[in-house]
């Protein structure tokens, strides 16, 4: 006997939205979304009415007005007659400069400290642990201020360099370390200098090619070519020759003491140094922990296997451990880079004119356009953070375990 049951009716009842597990989660997600939209709309409407009540509006026209203020560190042409927009761009570039330098240096500090924290040497290990704990657990603003204060208090002011038997003198006659920053010679590129630069670039390519060739020869025939000195020769001799052949087109502009300051040469301002160094050393402590975690994540067996093949400890680290550890290290390091970039907005504490200082500081204050400026700032930090993540993720993918 067969019993025939009708297939369930396809009729849909509203109560299913709540009682049917197939739909329930969608229902709740939809409600949550609606609430969120309503909240946003409420806040937005609130903003608009309140602004209207105060007789204000949201407009970005002020960006085209002359800014009226000067900025000390100007990567691009800028003066007080330039627009607020240009002032913002100067700020953006300054942020990028300190973020780039900071990330680079933090990585170097972090890798060194992270590797050394696992050193078999007790003293080195403890020293590095001390570094990590000290820097990780004190707010970065404090470090910025400490480093800046030490710089202004300890280093001499430019006037100390004056006179024949002055209190301070320049290093090698060309570097001055003052409480306003470091002054160094600046290369001047005269016509013909491009040839020298091109020669140098070609030499780098040549040196790389030579090393590849030597390695290949070693693997193919077992013949060992010297690596060290030929690379150096390839790298420098042609460049130096061309430099003289072209009539020394690159010269140095040395800083010289004028009435108040050193002029000429290159100035790395104290504010940049303090900010850069503090961010690097602080973030470096976090990166050190990431590096350590990454190394510990690689199975000990790998080290032992490499050792049993006769590799030296340095090579084990470089050839076996780090490449594998990188996969664990990179993702958290991305967030450290993001943190560093965002922390650079503390720049005004030492008078470094980053985008928070120009757009979010002086421009905001002088124009009273708080909402516009803060919106733009948020947009900028969002963009730059997403860009850093994107680049680093590309890198991460390139070193990720290739599953075939």
């Amino acid at each position: 006997m067969t019993t025939m049951t009708d297939p369930p009716q396809a009729s849909f009842r509203l109560s299913q939205l709540i009682y049917d597990t197939r739909y329930r989660s969608y229902t709740f997600q939809f409600i949550a979304l609606m609430l969120l939209v309503a909240l946003m709309a409420y806040l937005g409407a609130n903003l608009v009415t309140n602004l209207a009540e105060q007789g204000q509006n949201i407009a970005f026209g002020f960006l085209a007005e002359p800014s009226g203020y000067d900025i000390n560190q100007r990567p691009i042409e800028y003066d007080s007659q330039s627009s607020h927009l240009r002032a913002s761009v100067v700020g953006v570039l300054n942020t990028l400069i300190v973020a780039f330098l900071g990330c680079l240096t933090a990585t170097i500090f972090g890798v060194i400290a992270g590797v050394l924290r696992l050193s078999p040497n007790w003293l080195v290990r403890k020293l590095m642990a001390g570094y990590v704990e000290a820097f990780r657990n004190v707010p970065v603003l404090i470090w910025i201020l400490i480093i800046f204060t030490i710089m202004t208090a300890v280093l001499p002011s430019p006037s100390a360099f004056r006179g024949d038997n002055s209190e301070s003198s320049m290093l090698f006659g060309s570097f001055a370390f003052t409480n306003r920053g470091i002054y160094a010679p600046l290369p001047i590129w005269e016509p013909g200098s491009q040839v020298v630069v091109l020669t140098f670039l070609a030499s780098i390519a040549g040196a790389i090619y030579y090393r590849r060739y030597a390695t290949k020869l070693l693997y193919d025939t077992g013949k060992l070519l010297p690596m060290g000195w030929p690379s150096l020769v390839i790298l420098f001799v042609p460049t130096i020759l061309i430099f003289f052949v072209m009539g020394r087109p690159i010269s140095l502009d040395y800083p010289a003491l004028e009435t108040f300051n050193f002029q000429g040469g290159m100035q790395i301002r104290g504010s940049l140094i303090a900010l850069w160094f503090a961010l690097a050393i602080y973030t470096g402590a976090f990166i050190a922990e990431n590096v350590r975690a990454g190394i510990l994540a690689v199975n000990r067996g790998q080290t032992e296997a490499a050792a049993s093949l006769g590799l030296r400890p340095g090579r084990i680290m470089n050839l076996v451990i780090l490449p594998q550890a990188l996969r664990v290290i990179i993702p958290p390091v991305i967030s450290q880079y993001l943190n560093l970039t965002k922390n650079s907005s503390l720049a005004i504490a030492v008078g470094y004119m980053d985008v928070t200082g120009t757009l979010g500081g002086i421009t905001l204050n002088q124009t009273g356009r708080a909402i516009e400026c803060v919106l733009l700032l948020m947009l900028f930090y969002l963009t730059i953070s997403l860009a850093i993540s994107a680049v680093m993720n590309l890198y991460n993918n390139s070193i990720a375990l290739k599953e075939r």
Binding site: Q54, N72, Q81, A153, T259, F260, G361
Partner: protein
């Protein structure tokens, strides 16, 4: 600071909408304290003394308003603001008024939507340099490093001055006067520039004030005065006329010593009587009682007394009355009549 700006922006954005709306007087009365924005510390103008009690020339304006409105000069909550945070603090309703060395300018009045109720100190921007530099004029400052407070008119005047004279400088932006002082004394900048009164006050706090000179050039007009938000004219009137009461009191010879006596019975000067409420109903017109001005004057005396006590020639700051003398004494201090 980032937080403040952001919170400020949000507040302006109206998350706590309405708090900043009209009827400041009612708010102040309901709260029982006056929130007054002052500097983060500038001796003579606004700074806490050894016991943490705020005192100074700007502070006195806050206290006078509190006395007029609340009857108690100590019912003031002083909110320290930097050059950068002051306007957000006022616009968002965090403070009811600002008395903070703030220059009355066109754009602050119209674009930032504030109401300057008067001028309590006519000033101008000056430069201070160490004597040892041997500089005698601001025009010799070519190539100098100059410390400035950000978010001020100082910053803009400085750019104008150097551009006009076609000389260069290196600005070092700082947030508070204290920071500027520290940087300047450490030699991180060659010159410090701000309002001349502020320079005098800053120099007075130095260990060796004699080692520093204030250059003769005054490069701008800086009428400093208290301000309130646009849109609450009643409140603006109260602050304006409290300041005027202090100024008129000096002109009319009403002092902290004789105000009680003069207010006890009508004198033979009708204007004094109107000011002190023994004649007419001026207090009522601004929503206060008849004794409001008497209380304001009784706190620390009239304008002249406050000047002498806080920043005058017998104080370390040593400012002369100069422009800030009564119009009857060759100055430009001139209160509209009480009638």
């Amino acid at each position: 600071m980032k937080k403040t700006v952001f919170l400020g922006a949000l507040t302006v954005a109206g998350l706590v909408g309405g708090a900043a709306a009209a009827a400041t007087l009612d708010d102040v009365k309901a709260r029982g304290t006056l929130n007054c924005g002052v500097t983060t510390g500038l001796v003579g103008f606004a700074a806490p003394d050894a016991n943490g009690v705020w005192e100074g020339f700007d502070v006195a304006v806050c206290r006078a308003v509190a006395a007029a409105v609340l009857g108690d000069p100590t019912s003031v909550e002083f909110v320290p603001t930097t050059g950068k945070t002051r306007f957000t603090a006022l616009a968002s309703g965090e403070v009811d008024m600002l008395a903070r060395n703030t220059t009355w300018t066109f754009s602050r009045d119209t674009d930032l939507k504030f109401e300057f109720v008067g001028v309590n100190y006519y000033d101008g921007q000056g430069f201070m340099v160490p004597k040892a530099l041997g500089v005698t004029s601001a025009k010799e400052l070519d190539g100098a490093t100059v410390c400035i407070q950000t978010g001020t008119t100082t910053e803009l005047n400085l750019a104008d001055f150097f551009r006009k004279n076609n000389i260069s400088y290196e600005p070092v932006p700082i947030e508070t006067n204290a920071e500027g002082q520290q940087q300047y004394l450490a030699g991180a900048c060659d010159a410090y520039t701000t309002d001349a009164s502020g320079l005098a006050a800053t120099r007075a706090a130095f260990e060796n004030p004699g080692d520093h000179v204030i250059l003769p050039e005054i490069v701008s007009k800086e009428p400093l005065g208290p301000l309130v938000r646009h849109g609450d004219n009643e409140w603006g009137d109260i602050v304006r006329w409290t300041l005027n009461a202090l100024i008129s009191a000096e002109e009319l010879g009403v002092t902290s010593a004789n105000v009680d006596e003069m207010a006890s019975a009508p004198t033979n000067s009708p204007e004094i009587n109107r000011l002190l409420g023994t004649e007419g109903n001026l207090g009522e017109m601004i929503g206060l009682d008849a004794d409001w001005a008497k209380r304001a004057i009784a706190v620390g005396g009239n304008y002249g007394e406050l000047f002498e006590k806080n920043i005058g020639e017998n104080t370390p700051i040593g400012l002369a009355r100069g422009l800030n003398a009564q119009w009857t004494d060759g100055g430009i201090l001139y209160s509209p009549p009480f009638r």
